[in-house]
Symmetry: C2
């Protein structure tokens, strides 16, 4: 099996978010799609380790934004490379709330949706949620960021919890938080990850 | 609700196919995503009207190919704008069979997968199927066709059964087979659809 075939799948880059029991949270995903048109429903896939999944299932609703080409990488780092268990992500971003009370980032986005969760499918390590769309808006005329451009232009990485995560065939050291790989024989003790800013203790050797 | 927000979602273009009870069939979809990485699983969404859904559910497995930028529009017309109830699509294309006996197109593709169906979620007009990947290959180094490029470069259209189908806000006549819109006050009696080749009797007036 040539696992590089998975890199041929096209995605956008999205942040899904919710508020549950007075806690705001959200995370970056690439697996969002429209599954029905009348009524309009979106599907999203989230890793069971994601704090955001707990918040969305608790709230029974979620916001989803489509990131734009001009998005600041800091927003992706904030929502993609930290756990909501450790960080108050929305305190680090401009945001508003939708009619369900769920927060969503307002900068670096090309479109936004609000959804009520209607269905759930357990797929082992991940959960697919279906949401009926209750709000949809295009707050700017920015171009959307594709997942391919995220990798090629933004030099983005794929963390371990992502559905599209691939074991690397490169030797070196991998950041366990954001997936950044340092190709080197030795990891300097004072090394700081250039993508997510974690120190050397977060790196794992890969052979 | 601004339904144009749905046009901001990024997809690739795929053909999924199967063989059931000695019948080959397949159709074009844009909703294919990886949902887990270990083991690797793909999700696909199909309209319940699609003959291909019946074949895949009967077979319990499917092939999926990623279409490439250099794909011939004839292949998309063959698999996207005809029903498998009326046409033997694979008789009109070059194809091979995977280890499950399912056929897949061999030209105009950037990657291919074979999957065994493991889960199913009924979403009203559509069904989401989850497939565990048993084969994955990159038969050429062609660039993948994105759904955005399909619309902008290939002048592709979206038929009514697609999850991303949108009612048009344009006045004129719409081809009920492929979704092509002629912006005009009158539909000439001898009009032939420039996308799928159907005659004027297949066109519906839109206001």
């Amino acid at each position: 099996m040539n696992t590089k075939a998975f890199f041929k799948l096209s995605y956008g880059v999205y942040i899904v978010s919710a508020n549950y029991e007075n806690k705001d949270g959200g995370c970056v995903i690439n697996t969002l799609a429209q599954v029905t048109s009348s009524p309009a429903r979106l599907s999203i896939a989230l890793n069971k380790n994601n704090e955001t999944l707990r918040l969305i299932e608790g709230a029974g609703s979620f916001s989803a934004v489509v990131l734009s080409e001009d998005v600041d990488m800091e927003l992706i780092k904030t929502f993609g490379f930290q756990s909501g268990r450790d960080a108050e992500k929305f305190e680090q971003a401009s945001y508003e709330r939708d009619l369900n009370g769920n927060p969503y980032p307002t900068e670096g986005i090309a479109a936004r949706f609000s959804c009520k969760v209607t269905d759930r499918l357990d797929v082992d390590t991940h959960v697919i949620l279906i949401g009926e769309v209750t709000e949809a808006d295009i707050p700017s005329d920015s171009q959307v960021l594709t997942y391919a451009d995220y990798h090629s232009k933004k030099k983005g990485t794929t963390p371990k919890n992502a559905p599209s995560y691939q074991e690397s065939q490169t030797k070196g050291f991998r950041c366990s938080v954001c997936g950044y790989i340092l190709e080197a024989d030795e990891l300097p003790e004072d090394f700081i990850c250039p993508v997510c800013g974690k120190d050397a203790s977060y790196f794992e050797k890969i052979d």
